[in-house]
């Protein structure tokens, strides 16, 4: 009888431990402190219709609108609106880099309006990207368009 009670207690203890244990997500590579010229946390304001689509044979970049939350490097202010070009946006960021676009990475798997992203950015766009560009904000913005080098979920 004592033995049965011990087994029962052990099973309960193991069940409790299993309930308490939560898988730890794999750690993303540390965010580099020197990638690009600007590092911000920003909110993705929207994903316009037709801005992101699956395209196997051709590569493209799409321009998305962000609102800056905080700026670690560069001269951007909280609340400022910025336009950021993402290469092959239908791919998870970790899988988007290639010989054409160079260093592209991050933990974001898809672009969802309202999400906050930790971004390493470079500019001007022409210095970093030479290819098809989808710009649903054409004519609505002037000045700098940033090139996203790294896009982590925040």
């Amino acid at each position: 009888m004592k033995r049965l009670g011990f087994i029962l207690l052990a099973v309960l203890a193991l069940a409790g431990l299993a309930w308490l244990w939560k898988p730890v997500p794999p750690k993303a590579a540390p965010f580099p402190a020197d990638l690009g010229s600007v590092e911000v946390v920003a909110k993705l304001v929207e994903v316009p219709a037709g801005a992101v689509f699956h395209r196997e044979l051709y590569h493209y970049a799409t321009i998305l609108r962000y609102e800056v939350v905080s700026c670690a490097r560069g001269n951007l202010k909280p609340g400022e609106v910025i336009y950021v070009a993402h290469y092959d946006p239908w791919k998870p960021r970790a899988e988007a880099g290639d010989t054409r676009a160079g260093q592209i990475g991050g933990t974001v798997r898809s672009f969802v309006a309202g999400d906050r992203h930790h971004l390493a950015l470079a500019a001007p766009l022409d210095d970093h990207y030479m290819g098809g560009l989808v710009d649903k904000y054409f004519g609505q913005h002037a000045g700098v368009t940033y090139w996203a080098l790294r896009t982590d979920a925040e």
Binding site: L57, D126, D127
Partner: protein, 315 residues
């Protein structure tokens, strides 16, 4: 049509050899007398461009086994310069250098396009004689016959793939066509531009639609259909030196299929435009178009035509 075009010079194109590598070939405009200009089974040789006098040939070359890319072929491998018959070939730079080279009217300079901008390079001295910003142009620039402008593919006009013209004296750019477009070429007199254009569609061909051959004034005015098919994308439009004909390639795949074999090439009279390969869907869109007469040519990629007889001279 074969009889009338046969004596009109030579067409260069790249195609797979029987050994499986890409070689640059020349043929008579009716598709006859095909000859291998590069004869180099250890390399992939592609993207031939005759100088406007037809005496020189540019092409690109990379180690065998690398895959030709429909968006990047102008900057893959090394730029090669040869006589028009392929002899005396020499590398002009290293891997990826002098990308998207296009001949000056006099054949003494080339225009190149890279992320930092356009550069004009003197071929004899290999010196850069002028640079200027690219302003959104990113592939397939072609220098005009009068040397005053270029056309190319640009992302600066509200579509990712616009055809635009850049005036070299003022660096002012204008759109020629803002539908999804590519592979532009000048008419013989430099007044018009021939290009590929994706017809707006309702999701046909798995959402890709079909790409047609169009022409417009260099100022973007007067755009009109040259030739359309259902079932093949038409790319690589190139106007004959006398301005009477247009060359193109027609392929099932939207990138022209350079990773495999390229596409069957064709030739049509510009005076027959607008024309279609008869199909109920196209007839509805283009009720006035003529039934096309197309001379079918061998399979290849990015054909280029010269009136010179130099490509046929013994090496």
């Amino acid at each position: 049509m074969a009889t009338e075009v046969r004596p009109l010079g030579w067409i260069a194109f790249s195609a797979r050899s029987p050994k499986g590598d890409w070689e640059v070939y020349a043929m008579r405009p009716d598709g006859s007398d095909v000859r291998n200009l590069t004869n180099s089974p250890d390399t992939e040789d592609f993207y031939p461009l005759f100088s406007r006098d037809g005496l020189q040939l540019l092409y690109r070359s990379m180690p065998r086994g690398q895959t030709l890319n429909g968006s990047d072929y102008g900057r893959q491998g090394r730029l090669m310069l040869a006589r028009a018959n392929g002899s005396e070939a020499k590398a002009m730079g290293g891997e990826g250098e002098l990308p998207w080279a296009s001949w000056s009217p006099d054949g003494r300079q080339i225009l190149t396009l890279q992320p930092k901008g356009f550069a004009i390079v003197d071929l004899a001295s290999k010196q850069v004689v002028r640079t200027f910003p690219r302003g959104g142009f990113y592939q397939q620039p072609t220098w005009s016959p009068d040397g005053k402008a270029l056309v190319g593919v640009s992302n600066g006009f509200n579509t990712g793939w616009s055809i635009a013209r850049l005036e070299l004296a003022t660096l002012q750019a204008n759109a020629v066509s803002v539908a999804d477009c590519c592979t532009p070429d000048w008419s013989a007199n430099g007044q018009r531009v021939v290009f590929s254009r994706r017809r707006p569609h309702a999701g046909e061909n798995g959402g890709y639609g079909w790409t047609e051959l169009w022409q417009a004034g260099a100022d973007g005015q007067g755009a009109s259909l040259v030739y359309a098919e259902v079932g093949r994308h038409l790319y690589g439009g190139h106007v004959s030196p006398d301005g009477r004909y247009v060359l193109f390639s027609g392929n099932l795949w939207e990138d022209g299929d350079p990773a495999n074999r390229g596409a069957p090439m064709g030739l049509a009279r510009l005076t027959d435009a607008p024309m279609i390969a008869e199909h109920p869907q196209l007839r509805q869109v283009y009720p006035q178009a003529k039934a096309a007469q197309v001379l079918v040519l061998p399979t290849g990629h990015e054909p280029c035509w010269t009136s010179s007889q130099a490509p046929g001279l013994p090496r």
